[in-house]
Amino acid sequence: MKILIVDDEKDVEMLFRQKFRKELRNNEIQLDFAFSGEEALEVLGSENPPSVVYVFSDINMPGMTGLELLEKIKSKYPNILVSMISAYGDSDNYNKAINSGAKGFFTKPIDFENLKTEISQLIKQKEG
């Protein structure tokens, strides 16, 4: 199961790779990273259909915002799940995200326990 993480801060790659090291080692998931909304769309567009099943995106990024990315992904690839990860946990951003079809909304600092629960539920669904 391939997951794409979108965040303009490069340190997230090491953080996610370390936090999910067991899941990666056991090949339960694969992680891909994009450091802007534009780059995320390139990654998704490089395969037909894209192998990514779940996108976690930051909201506040230079260039395309996470909310814009969410809308683009949802219109182009309605089957790909998208959740937001943002420092801006206010109801405004939350409502916008959910109304645009986001599956979940996670706030920073990221609680990886929540994130792992979300992902393992999906893995179970895929297997079941």
Binding site: L15, Q18, N60, D90, K108, P109, F112
Partner: protein, 294 residues
């Protein structure tokens, strides 16, 4: 006839003098009000700025908390590996160092979580008041915001030493509150208490009594009672009725907005509650908030 006229002129003169004094007075008020508006404007932009900063802090905080947590996990793994090895002096040394390292990482993590709590409260403060009623542990909220008010005061230009005494009833449970609004009430009452105790310190130079802030909670017949009491300068009888009115302030110049208590009063009303004031000038002031809960 002439005397009559002179008398009338005198009267008119007096009237004019009175009026011009009144005008002077209101002009001063307008000036003060203007300064107030400018200050409020500044506060509003400061609020927006601090909200922006608070959000941006959450990004680095994400790395601080999560990388330190990860490092603790890695240390645990190293310890597990070491346990499988034959004990030598070198390994014992390594274990001791790893223990210290783990302690330090724990501290980094704990303090990162502390920063997160502070920043979260800052964000709650700067948000508009379109909050929703949520089941709230009132004691927890009070402890957090009294603490925040205290540290805010300690970091201000004129900090004072205050003893804080909590007397919080354990059997209140969760009550529906608009948390961001209600926390403003607590902050506001604490800040007023600190000001009153600072004033009292100034009046009775040398301070004949140690400033004490008492905060208590009770539940009685489906009413939650929150009391905030300070042993500051107190409130005189003649202004007691006015202090909840908007723009009424006893604070000098532009120190007070005259809005704190009126906003607090509005917030308590929105919770179907009441604010009562007990005070003895020169001795104490006690704000008693009563909120009905079903």
């Amino acid at each position: 006839m002439k005397e009559d006229l002179e008398e009338q002129i005198e009267k008119l003169k007096q009237l004019l003098l009175d009026k011009s004094e009144l005008l002077d007075q209101s002009q001063k008020e307008v000036q003060l009000f203007k300064e107030q508006v400018i200050k409020n404007e500044k506060l509003a932009s400061l609020g927006m700025l601090s909200a922006g900063i608070a959000h941006e802090i959450k990004n680095p905080l994400n790395f601080i908390n999560n990388f330190s947590e990860l490092s603790i996990e890695f240390l645990q793994e190293i310890e597990d590996i070491l346990k499988g090895l034959e004990k030598t002096e070198a390994i014992e040394d390594i274990e001791a160092i790893l223990n210290d390292l783990k302690y330090n990482l724990d501290k980094i993590q704990q303090n990162g979580q502390r920063v997160n709590r502070i920043v979260t409260s800052m964000l709650l403060q700067s948000r508009g008041n379109n909050g929703v009623f949520e089941p709230t542990d009132i004691n927890q909220l009070i402890k957090e915001y009294v603490n925040l008010a205290f540290h805010g005061m300690r970091a201000s230009k004129s900090p004072i030493n205050v003893k804080i005494e909590f007397d919080l009833s354990e059997d209140i449970g969760l009550i529906p509150l608009k948390q961001e609004d209600f926390s403003r009430v607590i902050l506001n009452l604490c800040n007023n208490a600190f000001d009153a105790m600072r004033e009292n310190n100034n009046i009775s130079q040398g301070g004949n009594r140690e400033p004490v802030l008492k905060i208590s909670t009770r539940k009685k017949d489906n009413i939650v009672i929150i009391a905030v009491e300070d042993n500051g300068q107190g409130i005189s009888e003649d202004i007691k009725d006015k202090i909840l009115q908007p723009f009424f302030t006893t604070k000098k110049g532009t120190q007070g907005t005259g809005l704190g208590l009126s906003i607090s009063s509005d917030i308590v009303s929105a919770h179907q509650g009441t604010i009562n004031i007990e005070s003895k000038e020169g001795f104490f002031t006690k704000f008693i908030i009563k909120i009905p809960v079903s």
